[in-house]
């Protein structure tokens, strides 16, 4: 039994539920038999991967569905060996190079080279190029991206790259200009509602409109999250009722808790408590930029305008420092401490005005 997210993933460009114009364009492109390197970007849960897989299917036929998992071993320049898991079919290979950490440059270069150097013996039956699909390109180091740009040009005859990323800000301009950018915006609330209702119907359940609306809103227009929530709701209670509880992800609640603590009391002992909470989040591999984003959103619900601006300012500053440094916890705590002192000062000042 597979999750609904996978079960109801459209497998064909013509079966996509939204962004139909774009699907038509992609189809046009494939029909011309050739395409440039692609850079697919959009927020998570918007359907980037679905579109890429549909595109590959359109290109190569059903063969791309026969997937196999491999582990490839790479050797870095300093003779250190490490393994990366790949998902591949006869026609494409998918890899998340940022798994390799700072050795991603080796992965990018070796992988593209090995894939690109094998020519198709019989080009009549198939396309003459293979596809290398790299996910999370924005997490690649600058070094790896530079390496990529050379390999991209060199092996354009036998291999096409599809890069998938959340934001193009961290992708080098040199790479951006070599690819055809495809923007995948998040689906609207309405679109998510339609899909949720459709999936529920196929499963033989009746989904009340209010619940669909609530799931769609809580999911923050992330279709994958919405579908997962729908499935969680089914586990909890069936048939669906309009006033059913929609469970938010644990970590989000946890971050909310942290923010509430910070606003409630400002003292060194609280800061110590926060430390253990931050560690809890970090040990569960919650990305630190998500923590920052969550904190900023939550704290600012409870502050005045003047303070909000300052908090945003602080968050931006500490968030940036965090990317330059290596220990995330320092910067998270620094932000918390700074916010506390700021908040306390502000409160004291406004109290003094009151007296």
């Amino acid at each position: 039994m597979s999750l609904w997210v996978d079960k109801y993933r459209p497998k064909d460009l013509s079966k996509l539920d939204y962004h139909k114009d774009q699907a038509q364009r992609l189809k046009n492109m494939v029909q011309q038999g050739d395409f440039p390197h692609l850079l697919v970007y959009g927020p998570s849960g918007a359907g980037k991967k679905t579109r890429i897989m549909c595109l590959l299917k359109e290109l190569y036929g059903n063969g791309v569905d026969r997937l196999r998992m491999d582990t490839m071993t790479f050797e870095s320049a300093s003779k250190r060996k490490f393994d990366i898991s790949t998902i591949s079919s006869n026609y494409h290979i998918e890899v998340n190079p940022s798994d390799a950490g700072i050795y991603d440059r080796t992965v990018v270069m070796d992988l593209v080279k090995t894939t690109a150097q094998t020519h198709q013996i019989d080009p009549t039956g198939q396309k003459e190029f293979k596809v290398v699909l790299l996910t999370n390109v924005d997490e690649l180091t600058k070094d790896a991206q530079h390496a990529l740009r050379r390999t991209m040009e060199k092996y354009v005859g036998t291999c096409r790259l599809i890069l998938s990323t959340n934001s193009t800000s961290r992708v080098l301009p040199a790479i951006r200009s070599r690819c055809l950018g495809i923007r995948v915006p998040a689906p609207t609330i309405e679109e998510i509602k339609t899909i949720l209702t459709k999936v529920a119907k196929k499963e033989g359940h009746d989904l009340p409109n209010e619940l669909a609306e609530r799931i769609a809103t809580t999911s923050e227009r992330n279709l994958r999250r919405a579908l997962l929530m729908l499935e969680t709701c089914r586990v909890e209670q069936i048939p669906y009722t309009p006033d059913q509880k929609v469970t938010e992800p644990d970590w989000q609640l946890y971050i909310k808790g942290i923010a509430a603590l910070m606003v409630k009391e400002q003292s060194p002992s609280k800061l110590l408590e926060l430390r253990s909470r931050f560690y809890e989040l970090l040990t569960h591999r919650i990305p630190s930029d998500l923590i920052f984003k969550g904190m900023l959103q939550e704290i600012n619900k409870k502050c005045d305008l003047q303070l909000k601006i300052q908090v945003a300012n602080l968050a931006a500053e500490y968030e940036h420092r965090m990317h330059q440094g290596s220990k995330e916890i320092f910067h998270l705590e620094a932000f918390a401490a700074k916010f506390m002192s700021l908040y306390k000062k502000f409160m004291d000042a406004s109290m003094a005005d009151f007296m």
């Binding site: 927020p43 998040a186 930029d289």
Partner: protein, 269 residues
């Protein structure tokens, strides 16, 4: 110039080749030291020198460039150098003083549009003049980028079609003007919650924040609505935001900060 001796008379190195000081010392020097005759194999005359072309010379290290100085002077008799670069200021002075400089000006807007029109005609495309102008704006006066952009549109839409403004915007990843105008308007209300809602919505559309920073800069400079002081404040914030984004900052947080900066700018008038 060299006829069929073209290959042996020319050494071309670009940025993708190894070009450290070692290569300058070995490869370039030994090639430069070879003497050549002023006659071709069939007895006709040809120039008595070889040519070394260094493409993207501005990406060479200073040490490598200095190592070139001596070679350049000593072997002028039978070797000429040709350096190609984007920024002449990145070539060390002793080298520039040894060369004759040719400056290639950026192509004018009319020239680019003329060229694009020619391509459209050849490829059986229809495009309004204003669309081509948009292509040029998006490419920032870079003809190669403009042509690639045009080609991408045709790849997506098929041949023999009319190119519209929206297609160009979609392909280049430009943020439509409407969003930017909205941004300024929202910030003018000085209402944090509205700004937050806007940023959320904007992020979900999948546009890149760094693109906004670039485009906002252009808009701000020509805006009549803002005072000089406000522009200065926003400009500084833009610079900071752009730098942090490049360094890998999270888009949401940095963009929020930028918006807050614009709000503060609206508060001082």
């Amino acid at each position: 110039m060299f006829g069929d001796q073209f290959r042996e008379r020319i050494l071309e190195l670009n940025a993708s080749d190894e070009r450290g000081i070692q290569v300058v010392r070995d490869k370039i020097k030994s090639f430069a030291q070879l003497t050549v005759s002023s006659y071709k194999a069939d007895g006709t005359k040809c120039p008595p020198f070889k040519l070394i072309i260094l493409d993207e010379a501005d990406s060479m290290t200073d040490a490598a460039q200095s190592a070139l100085r001596r070679t350049m002077e000593k072997e002028t008799k039978n070797t000429r150098f040709c350096l190609i670069c984007n920024y002449v200021s990145r070539i060390i002075d002793p080298l520039t003083s040894r060369c004759t400089k040719f400056r290639f000006k950026p192509l004018g807007e009319e020239k680019i549009i003329e060229r694009l029109e020619y391509i459209c005609q050849q490829e059986d495309l229809k495009a309004e003049k204003c669309v081509l102008k948009a292509v040029n704006d998006a490419a920032g006066g870079d003809l190669r980028r403009a042509i690639t952009c045009l080609q991408s549109v045709t790849r997506l839409k098929g041949k023999g079609i009319e190119v519209y403004l929206e297609d160009v915007i979609e392909v280049t990843g430009f943020v439509p003007r409407k969003w930017l105008d909205d941004l300024i308007q929202v910030c003018e209300t000085k209402n944090y919650n509205e700004v937050e809602a806007y940023v959320d919505k904007f992020m979900l559309e999948g546009y890149s924040a760094s693109q906004v920073v670039d485009q906002l800069n252009d808009i701000l400079i020509f805006s009549n609505q803002l005072t000089d002081k406000q522009k200065a404040v926003i400009g500084e914030k833009l610079a900071e935001c752009s730098y942090r984004l490049l360094e890998g900052g999270s888009e949401y947080v940095q963009f929020m900060d930028l918006c807050c900066g614009i709000i503060t700018a609206f508060e001082i008038c």
